[in-house]
Structure formats: structure tokens, C-alpha cells
Amino acid sequence: MISKQLTVVGGGLVGAAIAYGAASRGLSVRVLDQGDTAFRASRGNFGLVWLSSKGGGMPEYARWTRDAVGQWGGFHQELLDRTGVDSGLIQKGGFWLGFSQEEVQKRANLLAKIDREAGGIPFRMMEASEIRQYLPDIGPKVVGGSWGAQDGMANPLFLLRALHSGLKKAGADIISGIDVAAIEHDAAKGRFTARSRDGQGWTSDRIVIAAGLGVGELASQVGIHAPTVTTRGQVLITERLKPFMDYPTNKARQTAEGSVQIGSTTEDVGLDDGTTVEKIEWLARRAVDTFPALANARLVRAWGALRPLTPDGYPIYQESGTCPGAFAVVCHSGVTLAAIHANVIGPWMGGLTDAPPDVAPFNGKRFLDKNARFVGDH
């Protein structure tokens, strides 16, 4: 078994972006990915590249997202140049749409607070009549909304393919069908071995645990506290339609391929990634309320995916204090943060740079304070 400089456990959007960031800068990288039917949050990602309203309870996260979104354009071009895969970035602004004056006002207050605390996150509130100039097909139930100039969308699945393709081109090994059960640390040699359920092992100087729902258990083996809670998001997808929605919204977006994604729910249901009739109906009605013409569009797929969240909804990026060289990542915004994961997190965890100062707040230790209470924000 050839030893690598870096092993990344998890080949989803988060793991693949970090691995790509390290591999494209010359490190020898291996990615251990699960099989065809694994729980894959990446497949249920709604696909928004979204800044507005992020970090209402944590200005550092708002700034982190702002920087990530700012790097997306260049990152998209880089992936396109290297792999020929278009990750579908459209970043010309997006809307949040509200059904009542009360929720619109709440929204305005939140966005003002974030901009005040984090800086550089401008927004504009609009009446329905003004929104209609951009989205002529919104229905009468939409009373107003907000506009964020840096918001946009990408295709999560093509982004994942672009990352895997980029990894392959950079010489990384992607090993699929692997369930990693344990991380072994050889302190004397400063090496890590990822051990699969069937006993195979892969060694490397450094290791990143980005295994979604599996992070908590593996991270604890290298002394990192990375608690995760699981939420299910259900998404509806229509047949491909001729373009009619020029901008993404919080309730629906039309992809570059033409299908409309309608989403998404946030449910606390444990490890059930199924879909439910109740939520499908709720999402469908809400979509038709937002864009009445969608009544004539056909629902082709419904999707349920489990997303790993931390108790406060903000990410964990952390190096182990007891096993230096081991890292854990918990993050559910794999699309929005893809560029900064590749550009900043990958080089850091790969050992090419020091810990970036702006990730210091995203330490899992914040969840060890017994007196702290957390409200999930996402």
C-alpha cells in the first residue's frame, strides 16, 4: 500500500472540494468514498449559492460565506478549464419571496442586522410589483421579498462530477465502495490509517474526516468533538421546462437544464431519507402559490436527503489537538462554500498553509460548554 500525503474520508461535495484543493496544489491525495446507495447529502442539495441571511447568529459565518461566494466565479472557471465540466454557476442575484408583510418585515430586520454586523452583505427589499419586473410569473400570494445581488445557483451534481473529474486529472485516487469504520493513529510515525469495515487500511500523513453523517464517530477517535444532528430535506423536481424563471428564489429555482427544483423541507426524522406524501403536497402547493403556472408542470422526482448539521447549524473545521494532522469537517453548505473549501480549507488541511485565522471560530469545542444552548440556523 502506497502511503499518501493526505487521505480524505468522504467523497461528497465537502470532502471532494477539500481533496481537490489539496490535490490541485500538488499533494498526493486519496479519497475514500462510499458506495452507490450511501446516504448522500450532496444528491439532495438544493443547489443555491447563497449569501443572504446566512450567519444571523454568527457574523464570522456571514463573512466566511461572503468570501466563499466571492470566490465561486473563478472556481467555476477553473473547474471548467481543467475538466470540461460546467458546474452550472449562475450568479446574477436571487430573491427571497414572502407570503405575508410580517415575514417580509422580519426578513428585512434580519438582513439589516447581518449587514451591520458582518459588513459587505448588501440587500434590497422589494414590493411584489417590483419583484414582478424580474420574475413576471410570481402569483398574487407573494407580497414582497428581498434581493441579494451575490446570490445564485449551481448544479450540485455536476459540481460533484467536476470535482471528481478534477481530482482524477490531478492524479488523486478515488476509491469507491468503502465504509471507513476506524481511524488509527501511529503517533510515533505521525501517520494515520483509515480502516474499512472489511479490514482494509489506507495510510497517510494527514487525514480529513468529511464523512457527512459519519463524522462524529470517526472524529471522536482522533480526539475531535464534532457533534452532528441529522435533518432531512425533501426536494421536488419537475420535468425540464422552457426557461421562465430568470432568478433563483428560496422556494423554487429553475436549473440551467430547465427543471424546476422546489424545496426544501427541514425535518428531524433520524436516519430516514424517504419522502412523505404530506411534505410532497406541501411543497407542491407552496410552489404553485409562488408560481401559479407550475400547476401545469409535472413533478418527475421527489428526493429526500439527510444533511449533517451541527447543533448551531454552523460548520466545524478543526484540527485534532491530540492527533495533529487529523481534521474533521461538518458542513451542510457544500455548494455555497465549495470554492473556499477548495481554495482555503484544502491547502490548510493538506499542510500547505497555516490555519487560516477566519476558521478559528468554527471549532467543535464550542459545543462542550454545558451551559450553552444552541438554536439551529441554516
Binding site: 467523497g11 468514498d33 458506495g35 452507490d36 446507495t37 448522500r40 450532496s42 444528491r43 451534481l157 460533484l160 462530477r161 471528481h164 473529474s165 482524477k168 478515488i174 476509491i175 469507491s176 465502495g177 421536488l236 423536481i237 419537475t238 420535468e239 425540464r240 437544464e257 422546489i262 424517504g274 419522502t275 406524501v277 410532497i280 403536497e281 407542491a284 402547493r285 410552489a287 404553485v288 407550475l294 400547476a295 401545469n296 408542470a297 409535472r298 413533478l299 418527475v300 422526482r301 421527489a302 428526493w303 429526500g304
Partner: protein, 457 residues
Amino acid sequence: MANNVNDLVVIGSGPAGMAAAVEARALGMTVSVLDEQPAIGGQIYRRVEDAPEALQMILGKDYGAGRVLAEEFRQSGAAHIPGATVWNLTEDGVIDYVDAGGTRTISATNVLIATGAMERPFPIPGWTLPGVMGAGAAQIMLKSAGAQPAGSVVLAGCGPLLYLLAWQYLRAGVKLAGLVDTTRFSTYVTALGKVHGAVTGRKDLVKGLGLISRVRLARVPIYSGASDLEILGEDHAEGIRFRHKSKSREISAGLVLLHQGVVPNTQLSWSLRAEHRWDAAQLCWTPVTDDAGRLGETQIHVAGDSRRIVGALASAIQGRLSVLAMHERKGGTAQPGHKAELQRQLARYTALRPFLDVLYRPLDEHRIPADHVTVCRCEEVTAGEVRSYVDLGCLGPNQTKSFGRCGMGPCQGRLCGLTVTEIIAAARKVAPGEVGYYRIRPPIKPIHLGSFAQSTS
């Protein structure tokens, strides 16, 4: 809504569904039968209740047998709900469907999935062109509308339905430009090895061979042992090219009817996350059930071709046997000897199946096509693209689907699923059973978002 719980809801009103309903009614169960089509009969007995006499003559005696069952069904007192598209089924017997009025829900103590079969996809160059259809599709044109080919027509592939349609066309006076048969003589020999256990199926065998010889006698050019089928034409089918006796041949025809057997319609059983296994004899996925078609410990049974391809007569018997098992589970008993008689009939009707499975096994190149051939008709993904995703590390169809949208269109993978499984298996050099299938989720059929707004709940 839930206060009206049926003892049995049957999905599909083909032979298995109709017979099950009749059996259940005889046992005093309350029964509703949902079907997407406006009339009962399924595809095999399509329009069986009101087919004109001239058409019945063309279609033959086996089709007429469906009439008896349809009459029994009508008299049974089972409720028939036509035009009902089932889009969701749960393990505890809740069924969501859409009809002209919107979304509706029906509940049952027992559910029978009797959704029948569909023609096996035939991914060859040009198979998406107008003028190329399934032979089964053309037979539906004949049954449902009395429609016959207007110009030159060629039939190609293998399987009993191909010869049956040829025979029916001859009776209707349709001239065939050719019958391109991919069955090889050497396969007859292998298949004959399966006949020894199939003496009870001899009658069916004789009947089948009789069809073939009658088509021959009608001086239809038959090209046996053909391979490497390819549709000619740019915007429309203009004919077919194939290899025959190591020569390349072409037949021109504006209508090419392809067929290489039928495969179970398994979307509903997959959507329940029931266990399925790759059936190496029939080259398709089949749900794992007990002898009565029960899925695990659920109250859901599968009967007929949606369990495994057995044909119309055996399907009807399976439907009845599933109902008897439901009845017995509730402590009921059947009439003495009835069950044994049904089992005897089932054995007779399925005796020939192993022979047919070997004889009419579709050729590898017509299931696992070359790189340039489109496998996903909806999203227009080629076999080569799927293979390139395997190169990137994809192990199964759900990963290739997310990398390249293969299987994401309105047909929901029905026309590419088997092909993709086999392409990946061949590329990875593993058995198809190890590769798996698409994760099928509701909606089982595409439904208008507006249907929910009309919902009466």
C-alpha cells in the same frame, strides 16, 4: 378517507389483477381495482370487452380467453377505478393516485401489485427515430384502434410476441417486408435441454412452433440468427441493417417494430425498498417474494408478470393464489382441493418458461450497446457516457445518474434502467446483482403539481 378501508386493493386490471379480484370477491372480501387505462384487460387483453368481431378473428383464440375473465370480473362486484395513476404506495397499504379530479387516497388491508410487464428496452443505433416502435406497441395499436401498418414494415428481434404479431398481421392481410430473427439455431439445441422437465408445456411449445411455421409458409423473408441490428435513417426510420450469415444486409421499411421479450414492471415494488434480485435467466430484476408473491412480512403481494415473466394464464393463477394466501393469513380456509388445483394449473402454465428464457435470450450487443448508442432516451445519455462515469469511480446506477442525468427524465428510468445496470456490470466485470438499480421513489409516475391543489383532502 381512512374509514373506507378495502380488504384488498389491486393495482392493475390485467389477467393477474382481474383474477385476483374475482377470487377475493368469492371469498367475501371488499375489493377495488385501480388501473391507469380507461378499460380493463391490461395490455394482453386490451379492449377485450368491446373488440369488434373482425378484430377478434385477427387476434386469435388466446385473446378471446380474456373475455371470459373480463366477464367474471364485471360480475364479481369488485369496484373498478379506471384512469387512476398510482403515484405512491406505502407498506401499510395506503395508496395515493391521481385521476381527472386530482390526487386521491385509498387504503387497504391487503394490496396486490399486478402491474404486468413492459417490453424490454432495445438500445441499438437509431432506436429513438420516429418509425421505430416496440412490436408490443404495434400490437396495442392493433388491439386498441384496429390500426395496421400502412406501408412497408419489418419486425426484428426475438420472443413469442414477435411471431404472434407477425401471424396476426398476416391474418389481417398486412404484408411484411421481413422478419429479422436474432434467435440462433444453436440456442434451440441448448434450449431443448430445458424441455425434458417441460413435458406438461408441450402443447404451448407446439402452438408456438406452429406460429413460426405459418409465418414461414406465408413467404415472409425470415432472417434467422441475425445480429448487430441497426436502424437506418436520419430523421425517420428508413430500414434496418443487420448481420446475417456473416454478411451485412439491409431491408428498407418506414416502420421497424422491435421486440426482445418483456420484463417486469417493478417500479412499485422498488419504491417500497423491497429486496430485488437479478434474475440471470430472464435478465431483469425481480422482487423477492414467497410462493404466494408476498413481499417480506408486509401485507403486499406481487402477482403475474410484475413478479416475474410467466405469461397471461399463469399470471391469473398467481393472482388467485396470492388472494388465497391473504385469506389464509386471516384464518380463512379455501374450498378443499381448490388451492391444489390452482397450483397444478400454475405448474402447467409455467412449465415451458425455462425453455423460452433460454431460447429467446436477447443478444448481449442488443442489451449492452456500443459507446455511441443512446441508452437514456429522455436525457439522451449514451452508453459511452455511462462508461466514462464508471471510469470516474461510479459503482452503480445512482451515481451515474447523478453524474450524467441518466434516468432523470419523465420515464423515470424505465427505458434505461436495465441497460445501465448491465453496462456498469460489464464495465466493472461484476454481476449485475452487485451493481444494483435506481432508487425508485414516489411519484411513481410524473404528476402535475396542480393535482395537489385540487386534492379533496
